[in-house]
Amino acid sequence: MATLRTPPGASDTGPSQPPGPAAAGLPLAGGGGIAGARSLRRMGRAITANRKATVGVALLVLFIFVGLFPGLIAHDNPQAEIYPRSLGPSAQHWLGTTSFGQDMFAQVIWGTRPVLLIAFGVGILATVVAMLIGVAAAYLGGAADGTLNVITDVLLVIPLFPLLIIIGSYLHGAGTAVMIAVIAATSWSYTARQLRSQALSLRSRDFLNAAKVRGERRLYVICVEIIPTMTSLLVAAFLTNALYAVLFSSSLQFIGLGDPNVTSWGTMLYWAENNEAFQTGLPLWIIVPGLCIVALGAAFALLNYAFDEIGNPALRPVKSMRVTKAGAVTTPDRHRRLRVKRTG
């Protein structure tokens, strides 16, 4: 195929395969595997280019660090009620103390880990379930597809939060593990739908037909060919599920259905409200944990939004063009009202 002189890397429509498994003598994983690696690389590039994505990643990394090494940052035991009660912020207590005499800063720092555990736990679990169900429905088709669809749709419609409240009430407070399980079990339906749609559109692609002709079994095709190609959508699903896990779990903790022995931002808010934090002059007890929830949620949401823009360039901010009321475009510099050029 004759092509014009293009500088290397300028166009990714070239026919050559990147050196990879084939060159290493490994069995080719098919179009899916290579596409998966390529899309991960593309994602990495896209993240650094997009401002929202960078902010999101930065926040997330910060929280993960705090969650992994809380002892490095806060030296007090968050549960210990050893200090004078209801102190305002000071040098010894950056955020003051609670009505029980606990150091608030320590609580916020140590409270990060349970939230992250729930976010990532539900994110992974719910996404895996959604993926299995969505892809199976798309790939198996027919009656299996129909049944799985109905199940997904019913779960979509049933109001999740009231259901979570009722389950939580029967359980008389849920520990972290139970909360992960329950939230994941009820919130996978939204992302399952999206994954099924994409899997459906992939069904008729050529590399899948090639696999079928090679005689690969269905499970193999699903795991090795389809799923790697859906990497970006899986990441988006993970982010969505993690975000809702953070919001749902904090809300459940706020109304007292969390584990009262675990310090997390949601439980802090529960105790704060029950002790009339505003009226007793401890506004930070409510403001700070809430801000943390917003920040972590924003990290997930910004990343998700950035992925949306990366996937659909039409949504990106339009730059440096003057737009008239009806959307007609004129470039703002020298080309307005062009005159007939007389060459000669």
């Binding site: 063009m321 008239t324 307005r336 050029k341 007389r342």
Partner: protein
């Protein structure tokens, strides 16, 4: 027609034409993408007299549809006009706002798009879509709107009962014809058509072309017709523009271009379409694929695929030369240089 050297373009038209209605001069369109600019249309010039039928042919990606939308001032970001002028009935349309263009739109210049399924509003009835065009131009009487709507539908052979239908309720051919009927509402002077037959089967294509030609004979409007199918315009167009890689490769009277193509690309195109009556000849295509317009090659854009390529072609871009009343962009026909 002014004849200052360098500005003159072909001015021959069908017998009886009365002056130039449309003058496109050095029109350039770029797509401003994040990774750089793509020059989709590069200094294209041609003119059109009243009642003329000009065909623009080329393969996918050669810029013909972009050119068309640029002429009608219907580009959408990131595409923008970056140079040249479009003088329609004495007035340059480039740079005008939609409000300023509204007076001219549809009354003097209408558009027919490729797929009526996409070009017709799916949630409005045919009647409603005709009506809002008329109301936008001052026709308010319900009776007048109803009468005219029925009239144009009959012109294209559709029973006016279908005015109440929604686009998805009509067949493909009927949808396309209603789009043409809509373009006729104000009997404009110029109708721009972007591959209006591509979505139809061969038989419907032919019948639609005949219909279009009949309407033109009856109502006298000029047509710019974009297509990738040369055989369609062979019998209907007066003049032909062959585009390649965003530039004009050849431009002349349709018959002459078909009988004796000059540009190697045009030759390749003609040879790719077998004649139904002639002797059996082996089909030859044109090897290769269109150039990547993000990177403008230093020489001729067709050089990589040209069977007659010379060393000079890859180093230096050919200008547009006038030879025997034809404009050709090829060193093989170096004549009077009309455009660099």
């Amino acid at each position: 027609m002014s004849s200052a050297p360098g500005e003159e373009v072909l001015s021959t038209g069908p017998a009886g034409s009365t002056g130039t209605m449309l003058e496109v001069h050095d029109l350039s369109v770029e797509y401003l993408m994040e990774r750089g600019k793509v020059l989709a249309v590069d200094r294209v010039s041609f003119d059109l007299a009243a009642g003329e039928f000009v065909g623009i042919v080329g393969e996918s990606g050669c810029g013909k549809s972009t050119l068309l939308f640029a002429i009608a001032q219907l580009l959408v970001p990131p595409a923008t006009i970056t140079g040249g002028s479009v003088i329609f009935k004495g007035r340059n349309m480039v740079g005008l706002t939609d409000t300023e263009l509204a007076a001219v739109r549809w009354k003097d210049l209408s558009v027919v798009m490729q797929s009526a399924m996409n070009a017709l509003n799916p949630v409005k009835s045919i009647q409603a879509q005709f009506a809002d065009a008329m109301r936008a131009h001052g026709v308010t009487s319900k009776a007048e709107i109803a009468d005219r709507s029925a009239e144009v539908l009959q012109m294209v052979g559709i029973d006016p009962v279908h005015l109440k239908s929604y686009p998805h309720q009509l067949s493909g051919g009927m949808r396309q014809r209603s789009m043409i009927a809509m373009a006729m509402l104000f009997t404009p002077d110029l109708v721009i058509m972007d591959e209006p037959t591509s979505a139809l089967d061969v038989v419907a294509q032919r019948s639609l072309m005949v219909q279009i030609k009949e309407l033109q004979d009856k109502l006298g409007f000029a047509i710019i017709f974009v297509t990738h199918d040369m055989s369609l315009v062979r019998h209907f167009s007066d003049r032909l523009i062959v585009m390649y890689g965003g530039v004009v490769a050849e431009y002349g009277l349709t018959n002459e271009v078909f009988e004796s193509p000059m540009h190697p690309y045009s030759i390749g195109l003609m040879e790719a379409f077998p004649s139904i009556r002639g002797p059996k000849v082996p089909l030859t295509g044109i090897p290769g694929s269109p150039p990547n317009l993000a990177i403008i090659p230093p020489g001729c854009r067709f050089a990589a695929r040209c069977p007659k390529v010379m060393a000079r072609c890859e180093a230096e871009p050919p200008g547009l030369y006038r030879v025997d009343g034809r404009l050709v962009r090829c060193f093989l026909h170096e004549g009077e240089r009309v455009q660099p």
